[in-house]
Symmetry: C2
Subunit: 385 residues, 2 copies
Amino acid sequence: MNHWSDRVADIDSFKVMDLLKRAKELESQGHDVVNMCVGEPDFSTPEPISEAGARAIQAGHTQYTPAAGIPQLREAIAGFYQQRYGLDISPERVIVTAGASGALLMVFATLANPGQTFMMADPGYPCNPRFLRLVEARGQLVPTTADDNYQLTPELIEQNWQENTAGILLASPANPTGSVVSREQFELISQTVRGLGGHRVVDELYHGLTYGLDAPSVLEVDQDAFVLNSFSKYFGMTGWRLGWTVVPETAVGEIERLAQNLFISPPTISQHAALAAFEPDTITILEQRREAFRERRDLLVAGLRELNFEIPVTPEGAFYVYADASRLTDNAFDFCWDLLEQDKIAVTPGVDFGEYRANQFVRFSYTTGVEQIEKALDRLRKRLS
Amino acid sequence: MNHWSDRVADIDSFKVMDLLKRAKELESQGHDVVNMCVGEPDFSTPEPISEAGARAIQAGHTQYTPAAGIPQLREAIAGFYQQRYGLDISPERVIVTAGASGALLMVFATLANPGQTFMMADPGYPCNPRFLRLVEARGQLVPTTADDNYQLTPELIEQNWQENTAGILLASPANPTGSVVSREQFELISQTVRGLGGHRVVDELYHGLTYGLDAPSVLEVDQDAFVLNSFSKYFGMTGWRLGWTVVPETAVGEIERLAQNLFISPPTISQHAALAAFEPDTITILEQRREAFRERRDLLVAGLRELNFEIPVTPEGAFYVYADASRLTDNAFDFCWDLLEQDKIAVTPGVDFGEYRANQFVRFSYTTGVEQIEKALDRLRKRLS
C-alpha cells in the first residue's frame, strides 16, 4: 500500500544530513567537531527584535493576521526599500510570508504551469527546483563557472531557452557561491528574459550580508520582477520563519489568494517582532555582525587559498565559501567524509548544490567564530602538509 | 505579460472576504456589527502557553529546529495520544508542521499524483481541494446531507469511487457542520477505503472542542491513516502557526524530506510554547473554554431553530452552526448581505463551503460571547417576526 506520489521520490534530502548525523555522534563521543555546514547565523536574534516579540506575546498578539501580513510591517518593509535602495515600492506589493520558503512556493505556484521550467544556475540552493517539482514544473539547471561569476548570463539564457521555459531564477548574493549580480548585469538579464517573454524571480535573501559593496536589488531596474527576501539571514531571525516577496502590482491578488488558502497568515508574533528589525538600534547591531562576517570571510578565503583550494571568484556576500578542491582530491564527497572522520571538520559536499562539476567542490560556512575557523584551518594544514 | 499559471485562476478567495471588508467599513462608520464569521477562538492563547513562548525568546530559542520539530514536542504530542485516546503512537510518527495548513500540503503532496482525486464531503473546508489543485490533483466533492450526518459514508464512497480516486479526506469534527464521525463509522469507512486501495486522511483539527462527547481519533481503528491536527483551535494558538500530522511509519521519511525542503522547520518559539499546551494548568483553562463554547452552541442552536432555521443535526463539535435558511430565503448569499447591511450581523454564506445546496445555508460562528450571540438573535427576531 506504499504507493506514494511520484513527486516525493524526486524530492531528495540533503547529503549533508548524514554528515551532520555523524558529526553529532562524534560530538557525543567527546570529539571537538568544527561545524562549517550551518546555513544560519550563529548570532542569536538581535535583542530589540526579541524584545518586540516578547512584548507582542504580552500584548496578546497571538491571533491570525491578514494573509499578506499586518499593514504596519508591509509599510515598514516598503520603507526599507526607500531607505536602502532609494526605491519607491508600494506597501501593497509587499506580501509577508512564512519564511522565504513560503514566498518561493507561492511565486512558483503563480508562475509555472505543469511541464514548464525555470532556468537557474548550477550550483544553487537545492530546494529551488524542488518547489517547482511540487507543482509539477521543473528546475532547469544551467552549468555556470567562475568565468560567469557562477550566475546566469544573457548568453547562457539565450542559449538554453526552451519553448517550455517560463522564466529564470537568480540569486544574489548566491548560495553556495556568495556571488553578487551587478546592476548592469540585472539590466541586461532582465532585458533578455523580457524579450523572451519570461518571468524574472530573484532571491535576495542574503541582502545586507555583502562585504565591501551593497548588492543592488533587481527592483532598481525591473519593476515586474518577483523578489524573494527573508528576515532569517541579515536580520538573524531564522527560527521565527518570516520572509517576504515583492511582486508586480498585477500579481498581488493572485499571491494574496494563495496566501489565504495555503497559509492563512504568517506567524503573528514574528511579524510584530520584525517591526523592530528596521530600527536604528537593530541596524547598528546588524552592521557590527556584518563586519564580523567580513573578517571571517577574509580569514577563511585567504587560509583556504593558501592550502591550495581554488576560489577564483572571491565571494562577495552570504556566509559561504564554495571552494574547488580538485587540486586536493578527485572525489570531494569522500573528501568531506575524511575531513569529518579524521579531522573533525564538518563541511557540505558540492553535490548538495547541483550536478555540474559538483564533486570537485565543498562549501565552507563561516557561521562560526574566528577561533573555530582558525582551528579548522590548522587541522587542514596538518592534513594537507 | 500577465500569464499567470492556470492553477491560480482555480484557487479562489472566500466570498466572506467581501462581507468582512464591508463589516469593517460599517464598524468604522460607528455601527455595532456582530461578527459571526470568525474561524478562530475569541479567547487569547492560555497564559501558560504564552509564558512558555516568552521564556523561549528569553532563552534564545530563535534558530531553526529539526524539520519534523523538536523531539520534546513530538514526544509530548505522542504522550497526549496516550493520555486522551489510550493510544500508543511512536513520537517518530508525529511530524510538527507550520499549522495544519503545512500538514495538508505535505500529506497531499505525498499521496496524490497529478490527475488523481481525493474524495471529500460537500460542504467542507474550502481550502482542502485547493491544496490538491496546487499539486495538480483535484478534490472530488461528494454531496452530503443531514441524513449522512454531513459525512462521507461507506455507501457514498463506493458509489463515487473512480479509477483516479487516490483516497478520502474526512473531517471530524467538521467545518462547517460540526458533525463528528463515530468510532464505528471510522471502522466501516476505513475498511471500505482500504478495500478500494485508497488512502485515508482525517482532519482532527477541532478535537477537544466537542460537547457532551469526545471525538474518537481515526487512529483508534486505522494505524495507516494520515491524521491532521493543530494547536490553533482547542489550544487557542492560531497566530503561532503550529500543527502536526501523524503518519504511518512507512511515510515518515517522505514527509520529513518534504518538510526539510519546503519549510526548513516549523516556527521555533511556537514549538517551545506548545510544550506547555499539555500541562494540567493549561488543560484546566481549555476545558473551561470548552464549556463556554458548549453554552454558546446550545444558546445559538436553540435560538436559530426557534427562528425557523433548520438544523437537523445538532453540531457536536467545532464552533460553527451550519443552518439551512431555505424556509427564510431562496438565496442565502443575498440573505447574508441583507443581514450585514440591515441588521449588522456578519455570517458566512454557504457557497464558501461547497456547491451542493450551498445557497440554502449560512454558517454562524460562535467565536463570540453569549451577549453578542443574544444580540444577534434579537436582531434576527426583529427581522423575521
